[in-house]
Amino acid sequence: MVDLVVDKKIGGVRFTVLSPDEIRKMSVVKVTVPDTYNDDGYPIENGLIDTRMGVIDPGLKCRTCGGRMGTCSGHFGRIELVRPVINPLYSKIILYLLRSTCPKCHRVILDEKDVDKLKAELSEYEAMEDEEKEASNLVVKFKTKKLKGNVCPHCGAKQPEITLLKPTTFYKDKVAMLPTEVREWLEGISNDDLRLLKIDPIHARPEWMVLTVLPVPPVNVRPSITLESGERSEDDLTHKLVDIIRINQRLEMNINAGAPQLIIEDLWELLQYHVSTYFNNELPNTPPARHRSGRALKTLAQRLKGKEGRFRYNLSGKRVNFSARTVISPDPRLDINMVGVPQTIAEEVTVPIKVTTWNIEEVKKYILSDEYPKAVYVIMPNNHRVKITEHTKQEVIDGLIPGCVVERQLISGDITLFNRQPSLHRMSIMGHTAKVLPGKTLRINPAVCPPYNADFDGDEMNLHIIQSVEAQVEAKELMEPHKQMLSVRHGRMIIAPNEDHISGAFKLTYNAVFDKVETSYLLSVAGITHLPEPDVGDKYSGKLLMSLLIPEGINYSEKTDFYSLDKEEGQVKVENGVLVQGALDNKSYREIGEQLTYLKGYDAGREFVNRSTLLGLTTLKIMGFSLGYREYELHDATQKKIKEIINNAEREIDAIVLKYKNKTLKRAPGLTLKETLENKILEINGKTRKLCGKIIENAFGPDNNALIVAKIKARGSIVNTINMSAMVGQQSVRSKRLTRGYHNRTLPHFLPGDLGARARGFIPRSFLEGLTPVEHFFQSMGGRDSMVIKALRTGRSGYMQRRMIHALQDIYVSDDLSARELSGKIIQFIYGGDGLDPTYSMYHKYV
């Protein structure tokens, strides 16, 4: 039997203003009692949690539909307001209407000519097809500016000046209007006139914006919670509704008792306040309604708004089951497509398996099993969910037929989604194959760190277990890491060897020679089963071993940064898949992998990364590779040279400062004298740093591991080396020399007005020598500055990205390779001008 997919789709959602009739019609109860439960803990009749509005207590039954908690989704009630109040959300639109219509004849203050023109425009819009309507992008902007003229062109009445004192008080020629007056005015505006004002009179009669009856949302919307102490705590909305009913009752009593107008108006205003804050508790000129504890209440608008509001928190993003999160750690022996999953997680999460005639026997094994890979639930064809226990086991097996779904624990080989936040690009979620391992962390191959921007200093990541075959296939076909190896951003390799992988490859290809035993070990790790002919006597060179992983057809020739230390090995040459010369560095290694991926496909690229990184790491294991204090120590002679350079720099700076003080410094064009000075000093600092770098490079030479890792871009940089061995150098805040602190000086250790190098954050010492307290303080100043900037930057760029995604998310590539928006706009006739996938935009380099 084949089930055909039947799709039901929501075609559209219309937004309207609720009319009083509608509110009454959909209401199941008139709420009159400003209270919730009675003393027995039972909902009060006609109270705010009347059981006709739905139930939230497990024992009770809904009196409207008979449903229980969970099955009854709730029903609306209503509060009849004795006096109308203005809905604060619509006050701007009411203002717009009052200003655009005549108080006497209620017609739009436009003469016939303008009316005709508007009418023509409107009928043109009405005549459009739906799609065109969408494309015409009629997002109406309401201008509350007065239409022209002070006199009504229809009845000649003089137009009053209408103002709105936010949130809800209207003034007609500076006399406050009562909501009743506003409502009567709005009632008088004809449907035709409303259409001219871009208001849909069928779905939004303006008088509906002045409330006479207030809908009471079902209890499901505002559930009360029972605290541990057994005390009930009501939802903020319920609290607010209690207030409204209470005032409403008082107002009614006072009106019936014939109280003076003043008192009635006061109460009326109070009712307006409560209704206003019920809709939005952050209105201008209005103190927010507060909870007993002093916390501002979260009312309707607050529920929807902002990052924690309904839209962004619950609707655009949803909580999921079948997910796990822990700390990550590296495992270079895992395939880049895999994720190591702790046993404890694998036992907790399940994968649904649809039972068929072909897999029924296998599924039975899971059901019968008592330990780890076992089935936890069976979902029968009638959607009944049966938990598998010792008792139910046999029964389940007997009833197992194709069409059942068995939920089985996660096993190695299941595909999962793996994610690290912030998810800045699509490679932040990829489809890893699970590999169940002992231990308590999730493990990944360190080569997939760059796309996630992950490291192992305590990072946590999320794992999602895919619950449908369709999604599993999609993940396998599109989301596997090796299929994301080339980044869509620029077509360069993003899942690539890094850090130790590069050091290893360098060591391997630099000058390493291995005997037969070592070679066999290395090759076995890399998964190569045949031993090549030895090329260095009876030994094997590292270049030979690396070449075994590079397929035919790969050619590469490029100078690396190492060239400055070693002319021979700094020139990498690959000829038809054979590394004939040079030691690999970050760039050459990556580009060989990139070329290979382009020419031989993703699977070959993955194989290359998997194997060559292991080869490199094993090389490091055999040969050893470490770096410590010794790599950063300088000979006395070098030390002397560096001190001299630093002294020279300080002298130079002193000289310039002196010139500045004597006003003999020549002002650079377009700069003030002070700026000229600072620029000059920065220049000297830069020069000094460069000189130190050169000396260190010469002093350390190609055998210094610290220099090697910096040069081959495996880890660290020359600047780090300079900091440790030569000098920490100039510290800066806001990319200027340090100035802040005391008046005219950074610290009390200096004279006021001292502009010299040391007084302004120049640290002439290296980390190896150690810093004086003053220098340490300076360094902390610089350190804090960079932390602050980093925090600032993440916020700014995050918001920019959110805006960009919102602006562009509906753009896709159509069948004809044009870039279109879902609403039908054509953005580009051929995507990118050539229809090329940016992933492959580097093709010209390699093919």
Binding site: H806, Q828, D837
Partner: protein, 338 residues
């Protein structure tokens, strides 16, 4: 160069959500960008690069923080520095009080202009030049203008009231001597055996009128201004080039296709639209999409009074109501239920 054939498998896949990909490709490197502004070869003004500049570009600000022009010169002027300087002086906006001290004496009813010789040399203007400018400024007025060496003396007649002198004095200090409005500074720089002019401040239409300027090679980084003077196509080009420049100068490579898509989306309406609340993201036809972005309550209430129907065509809308998204694999369907 032999044009390499594009293989079919390198073509973009239909239904690919290329907009999101572009937004991510431009946004993700944003976290790695620096915030600092850099000095433009000796100019005092800081030209924003990195993240602030990128945000400025996608916001389509009316006036960028620091507009810059790159002006190429025609053959007669491009080859010699001296000739190029001449053009630069014609471009740089110069006011009288920049090269001279203007002093009023209300008791004597005089104004004395003392020209600073260093400054006029630097700005390439002569005393005679200034003198004639001042003279024509006072044409048809009851004043006497005399001059000696680098001093110009203006004696007011009796008809002038003191307040008039004061008014004239203020106007005179800001007397326009030479240059194009909006160009604060012009510098000559050598580039590939050609002298070109960099300016801070931008005014394309007027600069193109200046003698010696190669009208076809006047560049500005002010996208809005380019749009106004040269049209939307030129603005798009500048937008692409500027975003790319920001990325490249940070060493972050982003494929042009992404940048082009962003620019094309911004130019769709025939004018440069920003991406934010008042631009592309806030102008979507879908109520849900707008509400989920910003100003939730406003969008919902306005949709209600206009009786708007959300047709649920976009991505956000469908996610909100729990349907599959009409993009990518969500766009195609399986015939058989799995």
């Amino acid at each position: 160069m032999v044009k390499k054939k594009i293989k079919d498998e390198w073509k973009i896949t239909p239904y690919e959500p290329i907009g999101v990909v572009a937004a991510q490709s431009i946004g993700e490197p944003g976290t790695q960008m620096t915030m600092r502004a850099f000095h433009y070869a000796g100019m005092a003004e800081q030209v924003p690069t990195g993240l602030p500049r990128l945000i400025e570009l996608v916001d389509a600000r009316k006036t960028p923080k620091q507009p810059i022009m790159e002006i190429h010169l025609n053959k007669k002027f491009a080859k010699s520095e001296k000739k190029a300087m001449e053009v630069a002086h014609r471009i740089e906006y110069l006011l009288l009080d920049q090269v001279a001290k203007v002093k009023e004496d209300l008791g004597e009813k005089t104004i004395v202009i003392t020209i600073n010789n260093d400054e006029i040399k630097y700005h390439g203007i002569s005393v005679d030049n200034i003198r004639s400018k001042v003279r024509s400024f006072f044409k048809e007025k009851d004043v006497r203008v005399t001059s000696k060496d680098n001093k110009i003396k203006i004696v007011f007649g009796n008809k002038n009231k003191l307040i008039d002198i004061r008014k004239v004095y203020i106007k005179l200090s800001k007397l326009h001597l030479s240059g194009v409005k909006g160009i604060e500074k012009a510098m000559v720089i050598q580039q590939n055996d050609e002298y070109i002019i960099f300016t801070s401040g931008s005014n394309i239409s007027d600069v193109r009128e200046v003698e010696g300027v190669d009208t076809a090679r006047v560049f500005s980084n002010d996208v809005k201004e380019v749009e106004k003077t040269l049209g939307i196509e030129a603005a798009r080009t500048v937008q692409v080039q500027q975003v790319k420049y920001v990325m490249d100068s940070q060493g972050l490579y982003v494929d042009v296709r992404h940048i082009m898509l962003l620019a094309d989306a911004m130019c769709f309406d025939g004018e440069i639209t920003s991406i934010g609340r008042h631009g592309l993201a806030g102008g979507k036809p879908s109520v849900f999409a707008r509400a989920a972005f910003e100003e939730t309550v406003r969008h919902i209430t306005e949709a209600a009074v206009t009786g708007t129907v959300d047709r649920l065509q976009g991505v956000t809308e469908n996610i909100l109501i729990g349907q599959t998204v009409p993009l990518g694999t969500g766009r195609v369907k399986l015939k058989v239920k799995l």
